[in-house]
């Protein structure tokens, strides 16, 4: 073969997509596609728009933004691990005002649906962020990143304790437009994720985003010291997928109707289908974007094919399908004679 393999785009030409209604609902929020970006892996959409049309996916979930500009942690901030990576970015960002002026405005003008992720060190900071967002247009939903250290409580992560998780969500709820959908982003580093989900739902969350990264660590065997400047970091990528699927499954068991955005190691349409079957109403592409910047679009298309392959004409019929009662045992067939020879 001497012909160069020249095909524009990451995938060679494929058959047209089979007809499947891919729309999904997150409470009152309707999305034309269940695929969104995971916070912190897509910045504010602009860079990814080079690789695919960001208005074609469900929504852009933006990097968690804080009240003030923030420098983040020293480098090294990342380590590649088997089928995953550790990151310790430390929420570097420009602060809410700059975000609204530059990023949110751009996203609105571009016509993208935007879920704004917010993070804070105190309950009051979350309140102020919500109040600030109440004054602007172009926010489809708020995702509350409660996986940050609570500076008023010995740096204990809000997401790890029902009381502080619910305090944050309540504060955001109180300061937001009552119709604004609010998603609490849960950490898997807890004994019982269902009880945290319960707490945030009671506090007024519309739904939950699961999961954030798992705390991990790599020691560099050359320097014989922790590889990350921040010592520990968040583990993401396919390595965490079974943990994430289990979290979605458990929460769906406990809440038949709660909107869930599922994520953790999704790499292709079949992985996305796994989350949908476990009970997710939408799925987020995270670390896979670093591997394949076109992946959110690709995952949408692959999911559509996978659903059609299983005979689904609507995505919504597949949500939680793995929870269906066991298939009835086939009736023993009395008329059947075994021929053993």
């Amino acid at each position: 073969m001497t012909r160069a393999l020249i095909s524009q785009g990451p995938l060679p030409g494929q058959d047209p997509l089979p007809p499947v209604d891919m729309s999904t609902r997150l409470g009152d929020l309707e999305l034309p596609s269940p695929v969104v970006t995971a916070s912190g892996t897509a910045a504010a959409g602009r860079e990814l728009d080079q690789f695919f049309d960001i208005t074609s996916i469900g929504a852009v979930v933006t990097k968690s933004v804080m009240l003030q500009p923030r420098s983040g942690r020293p480098t090294p901030r990342m380590a590649e691990t088997p089928s995953g990576m550790l990151n310790s970015i430390g929420l570097q960002g420009p602060g809410i005002d700059h975000f609204i002026e530059h990023d949110l405005t751009w996203l609105s003008e571009r016509g993208a649906r935007t879920i704004v992720s917010i993070a804070g060190g105190t309950v009051d900071e979350f309140s102020k962020l919500a109040a600030r967002l109440r004054t602007v247009r172009g926010v489809a939903a708020i995702e509350v990143n409660i996986s940050c250290p609570n500076v008023e409580n010995r740096g204990l992560v809000f997401a790890c304790e029902t009381g502080s998780a619910s305090d944050v969500v309540q504060a955001v709820k109180r300061h937001s437009d009552p119709r604004m959908p609010i998603f609490a982003k849960l950490s898997p580093d807890v004994t019982d994720i269902v009880s945290i989900a319960q707490a945030v739902v009671r506090a007024g969350a519309t739904g939950v985003s699961v999961i954030n990264t798992l705390l991990g660590m790599v020691i560099n065997t050359d320097t014989m010291r922790p590889h990350l400047a921040g010592t520990t970091g968040g583990l993401s990528g396919p390595a965490i997928r079974p943990v994430a699927v289990r979290c979605v499954w458990d929460i769906r068991q406990a809440f038949p109707d709660l909107p869930i955005i599922g994520m953790g190691g999704i790499r292709n349409g079949n992985d996305a289908l796994e989350f949908i079957l476990a009970g997710a109403n939408a799925v987020a592409a995270g670390t896979v974007i670093f591997h394949d910047p076109s992946s959110p679009m690709r995952i949408h298309n692959e999911l559509q094919r996978a659903l059609a392959g299983h005979g689904f004409s609507r995505l919504q019929d597949a949500i939680g399908y793995a929870h269906r009662p066991a298939d009835p045992e086939p009736e023993p067939d009395d008329d059947f004679d075994f021929i053993t020879e």
């Binding site: 160069a4 020249i6 860079e47 420098s71 090294p76 990342m78 591997h291």
Partner: protein
């Protein structure tokens, strides 16, 4: 603007300690400028190595039967670069590029000194050609640990008015570091600008030497990158802006080429306390 394309390996050849890979990269090579880099997916579709590996573009060819092609110079370090070195003709490869901000070229005919450490000389070839086309004088200094780790000295000799070579062990050229000989070269040719690519400590010294001589410096840095396209914030370093404020800038999109006098070299790997948004005592 960067694109993602499926390319093909055309050739893998040895050059000293390195492997030079030629790839088809339609849509990328045509718009690549000196200092741009590309990100390659590693290990096939189900690879457990999720992150792309970054390589400076060494050469581009935009015509011919293959459409656009480009060359990279690979130094085998770990599993990812090993996988690349093991590629064969016709293997497919997923490429994202061109990435980053390239070297800034002068408008006037200036005297430029180009400094490369190890495979850091790879992006200097295109740069030397384009500077020469603009009528600039180009002198080159390259150095490496050993002769094996020098890249492309014969070719550079052709491109440069003078070529100065150093090795740590004296196996070729002068024994020592590029930065030992750089001051003399700069003074001899009355250098207006220095372009450099190589390890961070080398870049730090080059920037200082240039500043002492009131010359501009353009340094291409190498920071660990998870995405290479500006979405993850892993690749940052402290850089002073025109407003005098230090920010943690992304080397993949705001670099990899920075003005040497703007980077706070000795504080890379830290958050200088006066950085915008730096942690306050008792805070985060």
């Amino acid at each position: 603007m960067a694109v993602q394309v499926r390319g093909e390996i055309l050739d893998v050849r040895r050059s000293g300690a390195y492997h030079v890979l030629s790839l088809t990269a339609p849509g990328i090579s045509e718009v690549t400028r000196p200092g741009h880099f590309v990100n390659l997916a590693i290990g096939g579709e189900e690879s457990s190595m999720l992150l792309r590996r970054s390589f400076a573009v060494h050469q581009v060819q935009s015509r011919g039967v293959y459409g656009g092609t480009l060359d990279i110079v690979v130094s085998v370090k770990g599993n990812g670069t090993r996988w690349l070195a093991d590629r064969r003709r016709h293997d497919a490869i997923d490429i994202v590029g061109p990435l980053g901000r390239p070297f800034v070229l002068p408008k006037e005919r200036v005297n430029a000194v180009l400094v490369g450490g190890g495979y850091g000389s790879a992006p200097l070839f295109m740069l030397a050609e384009q500077l020469r086309e603009r009528g600039c004088r180009v002198d080159v200094v390259v150095g490496a640990g050993t002769e094996e780790k020098l890249f492309g000295t014969l070719e550079l000799k052709r491109l440069a008015s003078t070529l100065t070579v150093t090795t740590d062990d004296g196996s070729l050229g002068e024994r020592g570091l590029v930065t030992d000989v750089l001051p003399d070269v700069m003074d001899r040719v009355n250098a207006d600008v220095v372009y450099a690519c190589g390890p961070m400590p080398m870049l730090a010294s080059v920037a200082r030497i240039a500043e002492e001589r009131k010359a501009y410096s353009q340094c291409a840095v190498e920071e660990a990158m998870a995405c290479g396209i500006g979405v993850c914030m892993t690749c940052v370093l402290p850089v002073v802006g025109q407003d005098g404020i230090t920010r943690m800038l992304r080397s993949c999109t705001e670099g990899p080429v920075f003005r040497g006098d703007r980077v706070r070299w000795s504080e890379i790997g830290t958050i200088p306390p006066d950085t915008l948004g730096a942690p306050v005592q008792g805070g985060h």
